[in-house]
Amino acid sequence: MQMSDTRDIKAPPSEVWAAILNPEVLRECIPGCTEVTGNRDDGFEATVTQKVGPVKATFKGAVALSDITEGEKVTISGEGKGGPAGFAKGGAVVRLEPIPEGTRLSYDVEANVGGKLAQLGSRIIDGFAKKMADDFFNRFQQAVEGPAEVEETSDAGAEAGETKKGWFKRLIS
């Protein structure tokens, strides 16, 4: 499975770069992630709980960074084992380039799954991966830019906010 996308982030490349290499930011941004330890030189250890279709599992895996061009490009590769659910592995090449609004982040992801995940989830794995990537970069954008601006830029976020408001108003009226 392969996918590519770009994001424009309203922050200078140096900030974006620092955020990518920060385990705390990664933990906040990876959907379902409960723990990230390690550093850019030794690699990271991550624990992620996710549900793919009928398969829910906690993946523990190692993430390594390689092919680093400081401030511009990094290759992230990792493999997570989900016990009975099987495994997921893959890599992403992330590139940063300065644009007038801040930074253009582009990524090419290649991922493979095996075991139950492949047998039961293959139909939905592409959509799932796309959603994971979207969620990650939404959160990443939010983490780097700050929450206020995200509400303006993200339709999904705004809708969710309104829904909440609607619900809250009904409760008190």
Binding site: P54, K81, G83, P84, G86, F87, N112, V113, G114, G115, K116, A118, Q119, L120, S122, R123
Partner: protein, 792 residues
């Protein structure tokens, strides 16, 4: 008038009472005192080197009794291939050892490399996961695509086999030059490349095995989901475990479907026996549905290029094929026979085609083993032939019915020796074709098509005239062809003192209806009620011998053995009657359940003879042994050759590509029919599976060897609304000339003849709808593929 009992009666299936009311007893239903539970640890990668398996943590977990890996079975034998095939260049096929548990390498997703036995299933499952997490398996590039596998000498499923080719087989090699010449000289040549899609058998009951060991006597017992307990015992004893055959009892109780997948011996059976021996306790294992998808032997998976040389009028002059057949990661027991002698020998079809040459290369890949599945090789042959003939009709603008008529063998040509090594004993292919045309109301098709068109649907009609070779098998012939065992069968007919009868048959019934049909034959021959006859099957301790049920052989081979045993019973009954009636043996006749002295009214009933055979007051012990029990073996003189004509009508929705099978007519010649209702049911089931293959089912591995269709969410089984109400006929019977019952077998027919009829109908619908650029769509002809073809 239809009979209501005996041969030819539609006696209701007595086994259905227990099957339909939940009273069947399947392997997993058995609960044994002190039993332990086994869980297999299976590879999640398609191809990998086993670096290390640390079993210590798993072994120490709560309830865990034993842990096994491939290392524990290093010294025992491998699970062998039953047929030996030589390549065109005379080299023997490559036969890598198939270990009980993977050792050194794992070769497909689902390949079991360890087993955990624990007090409870949950404990075994937990420990299996811990073991899997502790195993270090270095993933290697997966070998999935057959063409790539054969072209790449560096990446090998088995390290000792450089090009992943098991054998390169030519049939018949001596015909090759003549076929090439005939093809060259032919006024027209049709070429078609097609895929026969890989299928997962999906028996309703997953595989299960229970091993027992009795330390007091050193006896073993294996209860298992097998179509042939004697064959399983033979394989385990003689090849894999080295247990003396008289120390292992194999029982196959009620078995919920097999379709071929339960012919074979699987490693799990050896593991539970070894575990039982080690622990001195019964050890049980039942596959989860996902394990069945991953580890049952799959079916089909051929990629074929077929060429047909013909005249402009549609006379077939020559057929030449090149096939790549996937055998998967290991050679399953019949895997080398299926793409060769069950496939190449059928490549002349029911036609008078003078020149045929078949080339098959079998390829190892990192996928589950592939072996015989309902039809086994014959559906692949039939599909290739019937599709290419259909293409010929389109290219030359010929009527498919007329083309069949031109080329079908005629009744006066039997016995007919084909150019691919078989002798068809009898048949009347024109009769079944005419019957199908009549019952399928071919004359009314145009009106139905117009009606469909009003609803925006494209209606098409597809024809297939098929033949198969079954009743497996004449031992001498299959010996010449490479089978390592003869394939005769045995039956013991035991008449009890009170006149009831137990028939011990080597055929195993796992849905076919033997328990109903075999008594019909006994009752007919002995003039006693069907209810007085009981069939005993599936237990090596009770039955003298048998090669099991597959290849539509139960009635033709095991039934014939039973028929012979009954003849022996009658012969002995006459001796006893002669004594009791004080007449000469030669004067005794047997009819309607009575032994009579010819020309007199002196007679004894069958029951009286039986009684005096066991508990005589006055019996010539000096000259005649008491008892009334006879065993007979039967080795068929030839294959049987059922044949028929199938007409399928479909409606295609041009907007969505969805295909609906709106009618299906099957006119078959199965020889003599013992129970019409059961035959009809067999055809329904077979055609249903054929429609499943044609429209729904596909087994998909990704490039890494992950099985993408590993559950019923992604693997499309045919459902009730995918199949029509069938029109089935078997009145055009030409009885088999060489077995005593005149039967030909009907179990596989539907699955053999139907896929090309369906696909031909789809192509026909598109062409009649003006979509003439589509010449072929590979199975399964799913809405997506049809839509792509229409819009491509």
């Amino acid at each position: 008038m239809p009979k209501d009992t005996g041969i030819g009666a539609s006696t209701k299936r007595r086994e259905d009472i227990r099957f339909l009311t939940g009273k069947g007893v399947y392997t997993d239903d058995l609960s044994l005192f002190g039993q332990a539970h086994a869980v297999m640890v299976r590879s999640t990668v398609a191809h990998g080197r086993i670096v290390s398996i640390d079993t210590s943590e798993a072994a120490g977990m709560p309830g865990v009794l034993a842990v096994f890996t491939g290392e524990d079975f290093k010294e025992v034998g491998g699970n062998p291939a039953g047929w030996f095939i030589k390549s065109r260049n005379g080299e023997p096929m490559r036969e890598p050892k198939r270990p009980v548990l993977a050792h050194g390498k794992v070769r497909h997703v689902g390949d079991a490399y360890a087993c955990v036995v624990a007090e409870t299933y949950a404990q075994a499952k937990d420990a299996a996961q811990v073991l899997a997490d502790a195993a270090v398996i270095e993933e290697l590039p997966a070998i999935i695509d057959m063409k790539a596998a054969a072209a790449d000498a560096s990446n090998r499923v088995h390290d000792e086999i450089p090009d992943n080719i098991c054998f390169d087989w030519g049939w018949i090699e001596d015909n090759r030059a003549a076929v090439d010449a005939a093809m060259k000289a032919a006024p027209h040549v049709v070429t078609l490349e097609l895929t026969n899609n890989r299928l997962v058998p999906n028996a309703m009951e997953p595989r299960a095995s229970i091993g027992e060991y009795f330390p007091g006597t050193g006896d073993y017992k294996l209860t298992t989901t097998s179509q042939n307990p004697h064959l399983t015992r033979l394989l385990i004893c003689a090849f894999v475990m080295g247990i003396p055959e008289n120390k292992l009892q194999v029982v196959a109780p009620d078995v919920g479907g097999g379709f071929g997948s339960k012919i074979y011996h699987y490693g799990e059976e050896a593991v539970v026996l070894a575990a039982a021996r080690k622990l001195g306790r019964p050890v049980r294992w039942t596959a989860e549905r996902t394990e069945s998808f991953l580890s049952d032997a799959h079916g089909r998976d051929h990629v074929t290029k077929i060429e047909l040389g013909c005249t402009k009028e549609g006379d077939i002059l020559a057929i030449r094929t090149e096939t790549l057949a996937n055998v998967g990661a290991y050679l399953s027991n019949f895997s080398t026979a299926t793409p060769t002698f069950l496939h190449g020998t059928l490549m002349a079809g029911p036609y008078k085609v003078p020149h045929v040459y078949v080339n098959v290369k079998t390829i190892f890949t990192n996928t589950a083993p592939v072996d015989a599945y309902r039809g086994a090789g014959r559906p692949e042959a039939t599909y290739s032939i019937e599709r290419v003939i259909d293409k010929m009709c389109r290219e030359l603008n010929l009527d498919p019915f007329e083309v069949r008529r031109r080329n079908l063998l005629t009744p006066d040509q039997f016995p007919y020796t084909t150019p691919v090594g078989l002798v068809y004993d009898t048949g009347n292919y024109q009769a079944t074709l005419d019957k199908a045309i009549e019952l399928g109301d071919v004359a009314g098709f145009e009106a139905r098509r117009a009606e469909s068109a009003k609803r925006g649907k494209l209606r098409g009609m597809g024809l297939s005239t098929w033949i198969e070779a079954c009743g497996i098998a004449p031992s001498h012939l299959v010996g010449v062809l490479g089978s390592r065992v003869g394939l005769y069968d045995a039956a013991t007919v035991r008449v009890n003192a009170t006149g009831t009868i137990s028939v011990m048959t080597g055929a195993h019934s796992h849905g076919q209806g033997h328990e109903t049909v075999f008594p019909q034959i006994v009752a007919e021959k002995l003039g006693i009620p069907e209810s007085s006859v009981e069939i005993v099957h599936g237990d090596t301790a009770k039955i003298p011998f048998g090669m099991g049920s597959y290849g539509s052989r139960s009635l033709a081979v095991a039934g014939s053995a039973m028929d012979r045993a009954i003849d022996k019973i009658i012969a002995k009954g006459k001796k006893i009657a002669a004594h009791m009636l004080e007449a000469a043996e030669g004067d005794i006749t047997f009819a309607d359940g009575k032994f009579s002295v010819a020309g007199t009214d002196k007679a004894k009933s069958f029951g009286e003879i039986a009684f005096s055979a066991y508990v005589p007051h006055n019996y010539p012990l000096e000259t005649l042994e008491p008892g009334l029990e006879e065993t007979a073996f039967y080795d068929p003189g030839n294959f049987t050759y059922p044949a028929g004509a199938y007409i399928c009508e479909v409606e295609v929705d041009p907007d969505t590509g969805k295909v609906d099978v709106v009618s299906f007519t099957a006119a078959d010649d199965f020889g003599n029919v013992m129970n019409p209702m059961i035959v009809e049911g067999q055809v329904h089931g077979g055609v249903g599976q054929g429609i499943g293959q044609a429209l729904c089912e596909n087994t998909s591995y990704d490039e890494n060897g992950q099985l993408l269709t590993g559950s019923f969410m992604d693997y499309a089984m045919p459902r009730a609304d995918d199949v029509p109400f069938y029109t089935v006929d078997h009145s055009c019977a030409t009885p088999c000339t060489h077995n005593p019952l005149g039967v030909k077998g009907c179990g596989e027919a539907g699955a053999i003849g139907s896929p090309p009829a369906v696909v031909n109908a789809v192509i026909d619908a598109l062409h009649r709808g003006g979509i003439t650029h589509v010449t072929h769509i590979d199975m399964p002809v799913s809405p997506n593929r049809v839509w792509q073809a229409i819009n491509g």
